[in-house]
């Protein structure tokens, strides 16, 4: 055993012994403090006891006596001590080596753990994002559905509007039949022509009905600002005031909405037609 080793071992033993003794004394002192009324005798006794104990340390403990060469070569090989339960622990080099090895292992494990945690975190983030995407998708699908319905409604309404003008023309043509005069010989042909107009108009209205579109009754009805637009007034003495005397262009409802307001002339007092 090298002098350094002996000094180290002695130092360690001494330290451990001193610490144990001090702990013992502290324990004793603590008890005294708790009791609070212990006389001073114990102090003297403790000091004497400690002094005796210190005196006894003059002798070198048997473990630190010179060892035989076999033991020394074993120590030089810096192998793990056989008796780890004794006061002298493992040598520092071994401890250091093991500590470094342990630290490396901890590092590796930490890194793995870190990776796993990061992976878990990524997975959670991914899962969260996935949930978010699915929620968004569900919302978008719902919105798209609503938009599709709205667009379909608007497109149908737009197309219908264009055709309503044609219906107006047909209606005006049919209404003109009462004012058309023709020589007797051509009246039959003329009436046939106008009947054809009427049939075309009826078919038109049936097609509108299939699209849940119905005409707003106007002529002879009280003026309704929710479904009609007054473009002018006239005075028809034998009709009530505020009643529609003439429809300029027809109004239409699609389900419960006004697709097109009827444009009408309203009977008001004072203005002769």
């Amino acid at each position: 055993m090298s002098p350094g080793n002996i000094a180290a071992k002695t130092g360690a033993w001494f330290h451990r012994a001193v610490i144990l003794r001090l702990l013992n004394l502290i324990h004793t002192a603590s008890g005294r403090a708790l009791r609070n009324r212990l006389d001073m005798e114990w102090k003297t006794r403790a000091l004497a006891d400690f002094s005796d104990w210190l005196d006894g340390l003059d002798q070198v403990p048997p473990e630190f006596l010179p060892q035989d060469p076999a033991d020394q070569s074993e120590t030089d090989n810096r192998s793990v001590p056989k008796d780890t339960g004794s006061l002298d622990g493992p040598d520092l080099y071994t401890l250091l080596t093991e500590f470094i090895s342990l630290k490396k292992q901890v590092q590796i494990q930490t890194r793995e753990q870190s990776r796993n945690l990061q992976g878990l975190k990524d997975f959670n983030t991914f899962a969260g994002e996935g949930r978010q995407i699915l929620d968004d998708l569900a919302r978008q699908v719902s919105r798209m559905g609503a938009m599709k319905d709205k667009l379909r409604e608007e497109t149908t309404a737009d197309i219908l509007q264009a055709f309503l003008d044609i219906r107006d023309s047909l209606a005006r043509g049919t209404a003109a039949r009462t004012r058309v005069t023709a020589p007797f010989v051509r009246q039959k042909k003329m009436h046939a022509l106008l009947d054809g107009y009427q049939i075309a108009l009826n078919k038109f209205d049936q097609a509108l009905l299939r699209l849940e579109t119905t005409p707003i009754p106007a002529t002879g009805q009280p003026f309704d600002p929710d479904t009609m637009t007054a473009v002018d007034t006239c005075h028809v003495p034998d009709m009530p005031q505020g009643v529609v005397t003439q429809e300029i262009s027809g109004g239409f409802m699609r389900r419960d909405k006004v697709l097109r307001h009827a444009r009408v002339v309203v009977n008001t007092p004072g203005k002769e037609n």
């Binding site: 637009t229 473009v231 307001h261 008001t268």
Partner: protein
């Protein structure tokens, strides 16, 4: 606590609108009406109060029970009788505001108690106070009264700019015309001049067209329908529709059957003819523009922008005359009917503490046109530029122009498509040329040329012989990128003039900030390492100062190792980097 909503209201003479900022974007609140509600109040036959479209519907039949254009009476002692009650202009306006408030509450889903309201720049203090009172009667705390031109400038994002600006706002609506010049200095808007005519607008243009149609009927059918209310109403509708169509088309055929039992109308109106009819009215507005400039003591050259507001500004003649007078292309990117309300909405959003970005506007950045024989600098010139779709026009846009053949039996016409603004087409960028083989016809035969430009920069053109209907079609793609000055191409070209100096052909490297992996095939990083580097970039701001250098060095070394194709070293360095990152708390 949820922020208290503030709405922006354009309380107009003819129509009113309400806007609110949803998700930092001002939106016009609609109710089956594009958001445009007639500023009209009435009492129906059952004594029910009606506001907006419904009241407008009965105005012609029951004018005594309907109030129109109350804005003109704001601040006066006028009294309106509705049913058995008398109302002040403020109270009538309050009914309009209350209806808009209810509309906004439905859309927002909660009560609204605060508003920003716009008024004309020429409104006196009394009129402004009356507007404020109207708001209070409607249950609204009026946080701000702002001028309509200011609102328009806000909508175009002008108030947020740092530099001083002079802006002319030309507002031609259905029944009123205003022109204002504002100065914007450090975000503060000052109205320098405001003038106009509150009895001039789109309805006058309709009437001019109706008068023409009545003349046409007199001339061709020998009948006078001026006193026939039904015929007059139908002609007015037809005229209004034709007026709108003429903004895009060069010719419109107006056809009305059974105007009288044996009278049908079929009449073609060209844009030139329509402009001839309304020319004197538009010229009047140009006089007001000149007056406004004089009042503001500004020359046209000092104007930075011209903004068009009001539906009637869609008439191409307005833009053309303004452009000619002021030498600046007017801006009509935002729906001119809604521009003021959107500006009010933006101000309302600001009152709520929201940072509103300027409106996203889809406009064409370039003018697209063609070339034709005409006069340039007082002499005949075969390559005069004829703009069809002007710069700053909202997209999608459709415009049609008409041209005439020059000689009898002209065999063909070259159709050149140009991008630019120079009157000499050859100084613009030609992006397409087509030859249209013509039918045999006398000189002066009409050929219409129609451009359709969409948001994706696809320009579709159609040339048509008016008499025969013969057409030629073409499609040009990516017209916005055909600027003729491709940057990288230009850089290479200029770079070639400086041998040895390759600075012009390379992008400047980014400086500052953590290093990023170099681009290119040599720097492809394995996903695991790329992930660690991403993590490092994220954690770098959180790292203690003593670790920051290490992290940056490691990141650089890893990237370097990857570039040098040394995966072992890169992996080892990545492990070291990972160790450091582990101890940095997020």
């Amino acid at each position: 606590m949820a922020q208290e909503p503030v709405i922006g209201i354009d309380l107009g003479t003819t129509n009113s609108e309400v806007a609110f900022v949803f998700n930092d974007t001002p939106i016009i609140i609609e109710d089956d009406d594009r958001g445009i509600m007639p500023s009209c109040v009435g009492i129906d036959r059952n004594g029910r109060l009606i506001v907006g479209r419904t009241a407008r519907n009965q105005a012609a039949a029951f004018p005594g029970d309907t109030v129109l254009a109350v804005k003109r009476q704001m601040g006066t002692d006028t009294r309106y009788t509705l049913g058995d009650q008398e109302y002040s202009p403020q109270e009538i306006s309050a009914m309009i505001l209350k209806t808009l408030k209810a509309r906004a509450e439905d859309a927002i889903g909660g009560p609204v108690q605060k508003a920003v309201i716009t008024v004309p720049a020429y409104f006196t203090d009394v009129q402004r106070q009356a507007t404020r009172d109207a708001g209070r009667i409607a249950g609204l705390e009026v946080l701000r009264i702002i001028n309509e031109p200011t609102a328009a400038a806000l909508a175009y994002g002008e108030a947020g700019r740092d530099e001083d600006r002079h802006i002319l706002i030309y507002d031609l609506g259905g029944g009123t015309f205003d022109v204002s010049i504002v100065k914007i200095e450090a975000g503060v808007v000052e109205v320098l001049a405001s003038t106009g005519d509150n009895r001039l607008g789109g309805e006058d243009f309709d009437e001019a067209l109706v008068a023409y149609l009545l003349d046409h009927i007199r001339e061709h059918h020998g009948r006078d329908l001026a006193d026939d209310p039904v015929a007059a109403a139908r002609l007015k509708s037809a005229a209004e529709a034709a007026k709108m169509q003429l903004s895009d088309e060069f010719f419109v055929r107006i056809e009305e059957d059974h105007l009288a039992p044996d009278l049908h109308l079929s009449c073609e109106v060209s844009r030139d003819l329509f402009e001839e009819m309304i020319g004197p009215l538009i010229e009047k507005t140009m006089t007001s523009v000149a007056n406004a400039l004089r009042d503001a003591a500004l020359s046209p050259g000092r104007l930075d922008k011209v903004i068009l507001v009001g539906g009637s500004t869609r008439i191409p003649m307005v833009s053309r005359l303004l452009s000619g007078e002021l030498n600046i292309e007017p801006d009509i990117g935002i729906d001119p009917d809604l521009c003021v309300a959107l500006g009010a909405g933006i101000q309302a959003g600001r009152e709520m503490g929201k940072s509103i970005q300027s409106m996203l506007i889809d406009i064409t950045p370039y003018t697209f046109g063609t070339s034709a024989f005409g006069m340039l600098d007082g002499r005949h010139y075969p390559h005069c530029f004829v703009p069809l779709i002007r710069r700053n026009t909202k997209l999608p846009a459709t415009r049609t122009e008409a041209f005439q053949t020059m000689v009898d039996n002209q065999a063909a016409a070259d159709i050149n498509v140009y991008q630019g603004d120079h009157p000499d087409a050859l100084d613009n960028i030609r992006i397409g040329t087509y030859t249209f083989d013509l039918s045999k016809a006398p000189a002066g035969s009409i050929i219409t040329l129609r451009y359709d430009l969409d948001l994706n920069g696809i320009l579709t053109l159609e040339a048509r012989e008016k008499d025969t209907g013969k057409t030629i079609n073409a499609v040009l793609e990516n017209v916005f990128s055909q600027s003729g000055t491709d940057i990288s191409e230009a850089r290479d070209k200029v770079g070639a003039l400086f041998p040895g100096d390759n600075a012009l052909s390379k992008e400047a490297p980014l400086t500052g900030g953590p290093p990023r992996p170099a681009s290119g095939p040599d720097a492809v990083l394995p996903p695991a390492i790329a992930g660690i580097l991403d993590q490092a970039r994220e954690k770098l701001p959180l790292a203690p100062d003593e670790d920051k250098d290490d992290i940056i060095n490691l990141m650089e070394d890893i990237t370097e190792a990857c570039i040098q194709k040394d995966p072992d070293r890169a992996g080892k360095l990545a492990e070291d980097l990972e160790d450091i990152l582990f101890y940095i708390d997020e």
